[in-house]
Amino acid sequence: MKLGVLREQSPGEKRVAVAPANLERLTKQGWEVLVQTGAGEAAGFADAAYTAAGASIATADEVLAKADVLVMIRAPKADAPALGKLRPGQTVIGQLFPAQNAALVQRLAEQQVTALSLDRVPRITRAQKMDTLSSMANITGYRAVIEASTQFGRFFTGQITAAGKLAPAKVLIVGAGVAGLAALGAAKSLGAIVRAFDTREAAREQVQSLGGEFLTVTVQEAGDGGGGYAKEMSKEFIEAEYALFRAQAKEVDIVITTALIPGKPAPKLWLADMVELMKPGSVVIDLAAEQGGNCDLTRAGEVVVHNGVKVVGYYDYASRMAAVASELFGTNVANFLDELGGASKWHIDVDNEITRGALVLERGEKRELRPLPAKVSAPAAAATTAAPASSLAAPRPASTSSAPKSSGHGHNATPMSAGTKQAINIIGALAALAWLILRFAKPDAIVGGAAFVQHLTVFVLAVFVGWQVVWNVAPALHTPLMSVTNAISGIIIVGGMMVGAASHEGLSTAIVLAILATFFATINIAGGFLVTRRMLAMFRK
């Protein structure tokens, strides 16, 4: 099987779907990789780097003709002439956005190809490693902050210097999805004071865990629209939201908006009057620029200056970090190809929910675009450190399992299972019955007689006392508890001594045995108490 990597056709796109670093894995999967001449050039990967990693370089026409599977990042235009060169049965993989690109899907269907859209990969835990939207959003969020700092003529961090005091920059992030959270982390690590607004309550914890302040409005309405996106909100909610933004606009230096609604133009959140409320020198970074922008004044691909406020409408943040973006995208692609069986076991399995989610066309036949699964929590945060990039958490499925049973310990004496309770009741009843029989029957009728009954009473009481006492022990102290009880069980020493003292005619067998018993019991007592003392001495606050 041959895998073709095409050069991106969109103007200004510097990324490439597969980087040389990804080739080792692809070769392992059994692919013979063909890379179009100059495909990685803009990302800083020379053709030689690809050949060194085991790929062959070919012209666009050769790649289109020979490859069984073609990978790309952005979908070609519906009228791109190259589409005519696709042959039935070929597979096309990329971020096709089929819901928005009906004409393209139509065109691909005419060529009878199989099309898999990476943006449709369901956002479930298992598919995280194939989630290109998240991996790219992570870069976008980080880069957005870097661009903001370029446009912003001041420090992010507060400083007190001999030349004067500088206040830290205040950053507002609208929409705490993957990109928003990545931006939050980056801005925070540059020393800014960061706030994040989101309609989804689930985002609160994530924002706070990254050290951001979570803002939301008081109109009660959950904003989880499934798939890690927020849904459109009611009119009252939006009014309250605008009021909050106007208050923030007077305060913050940098606003980063990230609000998207899948398949629709971006919602307008940062209106012209809010921009006018901002201090001159402030910056608005609109990450929704390509989908029409969250800000009234945004012009896609440009920086607009309005009243001294810069409104940045770039939409190629990931492309601005083309090398790393390509590597991450390539890793996502390799993981996705792995899911499809690699080159050796290539199989489009419609029963696999990941494949089924991504499948747009099968040999030219349209497959139903399933709505993205609704049960997801908001995207988890992305570590913007050099932590492995795939640890970038995409939305995770809400736990469907019931909460695990808590393990009961001392303080919160959790109820015992019904069976155990019953057993205890039965044992208790039997013990009481036995005791009554023993207590009121003729003494000589029973082994041991009345004395035995007394001992039995003492025994049962002591069992209950032990029961009561131990429930309250903190689990951390279970080892010391065990070694103390172990030492205390050395009380058997009293038995040894009693037997040993019962007769006094020198050393009989019984005395020797008793002395031995005493000896062993003493080891246990001394060892147990001393070890416990050592252990407890170590515990400190």
Binding site: A383, P475, T479, A487, G500, M535
Partner: protein, 455 residues
Amino acid sequence: MLTLLAYIVAAVLFIFSLGGLANQESAKRGNWLGIVGMAIAIVATLLVPGAKFHWLMYFALAAGAGIGGVMAARVGMTQMPELVALLHSFVGIAAVLVGLALIVAAPRASGGLRVEVFIDVFIGAITFTGSIVAFLKLNGKLSGKPLLLPARHMLNLAALITSVVLAVIFASGGHMWALLAAIAIACLLGIHLVAAIGGADMPVVVSLLNSYSGWTAAAAGFMLENDLLIVTGALVGSSGAILSYIMCRAMNRSIWNVVFGGFGADAPKSSGATAPAAPLGEIHDILGADVAIALAGAKSVVIVPGYGMAVSRAQHVVRELTDVLRARGIQVRFAIHPVAGRLPGHMNVLLAEANVPYDIVLEMDEINCDMPTTDVCIIIGANDIVNPAAETDASSPIYGMPVLQVWKSKLVIVNKRSRGSGYAGIDNPLFYEPVTRMLFGDAKDAMEKVVTALR
């Protein structure tokens, strides 16, 4: 009369002693109360009116105290489980000897007394050999794998029935051979019961043996008509039983399974048909230096220690790591699973030994809800207690056991010596999770590398 009073005081002190262990503040006092109670009991017995002791008895007391003291002083905190198991065996053997001594001294004992002696000796012998096997398993001289004889339940049953027959023979005729034969059977039974238990259940086994040693003492109390022994034995017996019960519940396992050696015994229900034949996916390695980078960028870190930390004595390095991170203002906490290690509370003791403040050492229930907001979770030599299969895979032998949900954190670093499975011998899907990175190597070396890189 005075002796009786002293015994009552000792019994009350023991109760307070156990109660004192309920929390850190009063634990030390609890231990002292135990020591004082024991001293009172021993002195009162020495001063029983009319009792004469052979000089060897005093020597035995002195020698035993000396040996016990040296053992306790020398043992490393990592060998704690072994030591506790070994000490249990001393109680067992002492009980057997006391029973034998009593019956040798009183050949004309009544049937009732003989039954009591028989019970005492029988439980004592099981405790004795069982503890020795546990000791050998814990210090690695025996393998942790369960020994599964064919028809083992039948063997146990046969042993019990034979013992009952022997008890009847002994009680009615006082034949010493019957008692000695029963001791032999009990010894074998003790070996078999513990040998049949898989490694994962070792903490429960140790606390069960602890419980047995209490019941032994109580049985001796019935035999000698001594309420102090009965009370103390019952205290220890019931507390050990509760501890075992608490742990079994933490592992979602029936206590009877452990008592009769049931876990890890049957092959997991899923035979090749449903189980994935191939490994579950890819394992991603990570180097110590990269772990350091990830940690340096974290806000909150959770460390999950397991037996691997104990084996390589890594607790001091882990404490260093904790200090370095906390000095940078990173929140570090420890998550302790109820059955981490080989003893209940094992990890807490090791961390305390390394001077980790106990207020950052949390129980599973206290910390599980914080996992989603944790940046980095470091697993040091733990496996089964962080296995997601316990929640998802109904065919897994540990299915239903509550586990630490480390996979919900943003990055999981798993330190392991090798690619082998855990003590329970189960594969762990956690290693193939996208958020997981494996840091292979001995816990101590690996953590030292991380600390060095952080510095």
